[in-house]
């Protein structure tokens, strides 16, 4: 499978990655090798087989919506690259 430039650009948007021209060429090659390899699955007849996301019979786990882990705001914000007045600081999002 050949990967078009537009496909790599689109994946870059989905994956939020900025690739140099060189990285793009490498990504096209790598992805095409991988997709060719994984297309081996097409040899398998999976007609009528349900997709299995969880191996065991596990159901939704519910609990009351009660906060139990306390307020760790001050410590959490210490990990932020930038913060202001106890809030995360990000670049301007409006013009």
């Amino acid at each position: 499978m050949t990967i078009a430039d537009e496909t790599i650009d689109y994946i870059g948007i989905l994956a939020k990655l900025e690739l140099s021209d060189e990285e793009k060429e490498q990504a096209k090659k790598d992805m095409s090798t991988m997709l060719e390899y994984v297309s081996k699955l097409n040899e398998l007849d999976t007609e009528g087989v349900d997709p299995m996301s969880h191996t065991f019979d596990v159901h939704n786990v519910f609990r009351e919506d009660i906060v139990t882990n306390g307020d760790d705001r001050a410590n959490m914000i210490l990990n932020a690259p930038e913060s202001k007045d106890g809030c995360y600081k990000v670049p301007k999002t409006f013009g």
């Binding site: 994946i11 870059g12 994956a15 900025e18 790598d30 992805m31 991988m34 997709p51 191996t55 670049p91």
Partner: protein
């Protein structure tokens, strides 16, 4: 003899009897680490001060009878993808180079409650994506059997630290073989528990439906003892199971009479190293001689496990790693034009090549137009693989096979060809896809003197049977210390 040559349980006994103090044990680990780290690079972070502080507290609790467990006071290393409050937790990535979690992973909390002294955090493939520990941002880890070879991965730092006797035991995590394969490459023992056995709370996620935390140690007794401590139902992980059959040490019984062991014929075809094949089949003979009923059978679908695994794991990774965007924690790029550009530049600079490769593949297989053809197809294949195992366990108690097709490769050998590296996971990934427990233990050596690992796979939640088989086999072997330690008198 150096204290670090003991198993974790042996050291725990000496501490309990008062023969060795917790500070002495901690000092012994730190001395080894200081001496050997320049050669092996098993750790990303060593917490010297914190270790002694823990040691003193734990000693008091042992003295006043509060702590009586088998591993009280024994030092441990934790793979660097498990959160530890206040301690640097990097996932061996640049993007988390300054991240100090505000909470601790549940498996680590269980160890702390049992009196473990947490020495530090071990090196790994970046975000656990790799089979060699070479994708770490913090340098490669060397195999203590031969420093020109990889320790395996992704829990390569944990496996090498145990083999090098820097710590008696370590925690690792296994998404597609990341405990079992490095254990095999470094000549130690590791268990990947049934999915849901050990809480994943605080484990930085790679492939959430596959990830599982487990022990790496010198022998089966240690692994069973550690697993017994960390297997606990946790409300904070919705996939954690609530079961009472966690008394794994009760399975340390030297008896396999009548145990039905199946060897998948399709594991021994093309691609397996002849030495690995010979050693693993010889190990089966040993179990047979001890009274097990050993048969060959066709497991089927073996060649479809890797393609299904890489689609599912990459898809989950692309979603799990969205959170690393330079806002809440970790690295942020220096210069950017706007918010979106900041996200993109941060991620592009913060992630290494293999992580980007998997994020891109994952984004692609989940994108509209390809979701059915790739992602759903992989989930259907997973269902078929699970059925194949279910059929096998109707007949057999244990499935015996190799851990990896080869022994430890030379450094740099697989970096240039990712697909080649992925193919090395052929015997391990299907176990994760089916959610089953697997143990990896040394069973011999190849012509270069590198350790060969055997894998025993059990039915879901039947860790005890594989522990019993592994224990019985281990009785016939003696633990061998890595070549570089013996040669250099370390």
């Amino acid at each position: 003899m150096d204290l670090m040559q003991l198993t974790a349980v042996e050291l725990g006994k000496k501490i309990a009897s008062g023969e060795v103090s917790v500070v002495e044990a901690t000092q012994a680990a730190l001395d080894r680490i200081e001496k050997l780290e320049p050669d092996y690079n098993c750790f990303v972070t060593v917490d010297k001060e914190g270790s002694f502080a823990q040691a003193e507290t734990i000693q008091k609790k042992i003295d006043n009878g509060e702590l009586t467990g088998p591993l009280a006071g024994v030092p441990v290393a934790i793979k660097d993808n498990m959160c530890l409050e206040g301690m640097l937790t990097t996932c061996s990535s640049k993007i988390l180079s300054n991240f100090k979690p505000t909470y601790t992973a549940d498996a680590v909390i269980q160890l702390q409650k049992a009196g473990a002294v947490i020495i530090g955090k071990t090196n790994m493939d970046e975000f656990a994506m790799g089979s060699t520990t070479e994708t770490s941002y913090y340098g490669v880890t060397k195999n203590p059997w031969d420093i020109s070879r990889v320790p395996g991965g992704s829990s390569g730092g944990s496996a090498a630290a145990v083999a090098a006797e820097e710590v008696p035991y370590a925690l690792g995590s296994d998404t597609g073989g990341s405990i079992r394969q490095p254990a095999a490459f470094c000549g130690v023992t590791g268990i990947k528990p049934t999915y849901g056995r050990v809480s994943r709370y605080g484990l930085i996620a790679y492939g959430s439906s596959l990830d599982q935390i487990g022990p790496l140690a010198k022998d089966v007794t240690d692994c069973a003892t550690i697993l017994e401590i960390i297997s606990k139902h946790d409300k904070k992980d919705s996939t954690s199971v609530d079961r009472e059959d966690t008394d794994f040490t009760s399975a340390l019984v030297d008896d396999v009479k009548g145990m039905k062991i199946g060897i998948p014929r399709d594991y021994f075809g093309e691609g397996i190293d002849p030495d690995v094949k010979e050693q693993v089949l010889a190990a089966a003979k040993v179990l047979e001689a001890k009274g097990a009923i050993v048969e060959e059978f066709d497991l089927s679908l073996v060649e479809y496990a890797i393609p299904a695994y890489y689609i599912i794991a990459s898809a989950e990774a692309s979603s799990n790693l969205e959170r690393f965007d330079g806002v809440k924690y970790g690295y942020r790029t220096d210069s950017f034009t706007d918010l979106h550009n900041m996200y993109k530049k941060t991620r592009s600079e913060g992630f290494g090549a293999e992580v980007k490769r998997r994020i891109m593949l994952g984004s692609f297989v989940l994108s509209s137009g390809y979701y059915d053809a790739y992602y759903l197809k992989a989930l259907r294949t997973k269902a078929l693989i699970k059925q194949a195992f279910d059929r096998a366990f109707e007949t057999y108690d244990v499935i015996l096979g190799p851990v990896a097709p080869t022994t430890a490769l030379k450094l740099g050998e697989s970096l240039s060809d990712p697909l080649k590296m992925y193919l090395g996971d052929i015997y391990t990934v299907s176990v994760n896809l089916a959610g089953l427990p697997g143990i990896s233990l040394p069973c011999g050596f190849d012509k270069n003197g590198m350790p060969v690992g055997m894998q025993l796979v059990g039915n879901a939640f039947d860790e005890k049977t594989i522990i019993r088989a592994a224990y019985a086999f281990e009785r016939t072997m003696s633990y061998k210390r890595p070549t570089t330690l013996r040669e250099r008198g370390l």
